[in-house]
């Protein structure tokens, strides 16, 4: 029964508020853009490369190079 009486919300002054909202909107969209790539599945090449780099450094790796 009281809900209608408490409706007053505090609003920031118009211009300051607008500039802040712009900043927030840009920040959110930037993160969105970045996260779009972050959330893509990682291509297999990455892990393959890392495995190769690992084996290259390991002493006595099973497969000596040159057999290509």
């Amino acid at each position: 029964m009281n809900s209608g009486l408490m409706k007053r919300t505090v609003k920031p002054p118009a211009d300051l508020g607008e500039a802040r909202i712009d900043r927030v909107a840009i920040g959110e969209r930037l993160r969105q853009l970045f996260d779009e790539v972050v959330n893509e599945p990682v291509p297999d090449d990455f892990l393959d490369l890392l495995r190769q780099a690992d084996e290259r450094k390991a002493p006595g790796a099973a497969d000596p190079e040159g057999g290509q």
Binding site: D22, I26, R29, L30, F34, D35, E36, V37, P43, F46
Partner: protein, 199 residues
């Protein structure tokens, strides 16, 4: 002499390092994409950085900020390639054009396309500062470390980049209402250039 020698191989440490490095790959890809504006070139760059980080693992101090460390490696890699093979003065313009072509996807959300386009128009140093702080979650101090510049420089780059982007996005809304795309691009580019050179 023995202090300076490479520490002996430590398989357990390597395993932990590798696990953390793998967990950072998505972030490295995103940062690389934001620097190059081109998915294929970005993945090449991210892969180079990943392998470099792996090869340099002995020099990484475990427990410190590995994300910042790998981002620094990626960034250095990007600029050393850029110095080798690209003409600096044309880079930003070319990146903007490439991005414009790349985003010609009618199903993509308009606002994100405009942001991508706007980012491509910013000078590289402003773009990277804004991405690191605004999307990468780095503090100004960490971003300064990654970019090899003063904290105040990062702050001013970020704020100039924000201002220029806001303006580009505002114009974008205006131009979407029917001005020819070519004219709109020319005006936006000129505007972006003016804004990013201001102050």
């Amino acid at each position: 002499m023995s202090d300076a020698a490479r520490p002996p191989a430590d398989p357990a440490r390597d395993q932990i390092f590798k696990k953390e490095l793998v967990a950072l790959i998505p972030q490295l890809r995103a940062f690389a994409r934001s620097l190059t504006g081109d998915p294929t070139a970005a993945d090449d760059l991210a892969q180079d950085a990943m392998v470099k980080a792996w090869d340099a693992r002995a020099s990484f101090e475990m427990g410190t900020n590995m994300k910042a460390w790998t981002f620094m490696i990626l960034r250095n890699q990007f600029y050393s390639e850029k110095r080798r093979s690209w003409r600096q003065s044309q880079l930003d313009q070319e990146a903007a054009e490439r991005t414009l072509v790349a985003i010609d996807d009618p199903s993509a959300p308009v606002a994100l396309d405009e942001l991508r386009m706007g980012l491509a128009m910013l000078p590289a140093e402003q773009r990277e500062a804004l991405i690191l702080v605004g999307a990468g979650g780095f503090a100004y101090e960490e971003a300064a470390l990654i970019c090899g510049c003063a904290v105040g420089t990062v702050k001013s780059r970020v704020s100039r980049a924000r201002r220029a982007l806001m303006e580009i996005l505002r114009r974008g809304e205006y131009f979407r209402d029917g001005a020819p795309a070519g004219d709109a691009m020319g005006t936006i580019l000129a505007q972006a250039e003016r804004l990013s050179n201001a102050t």
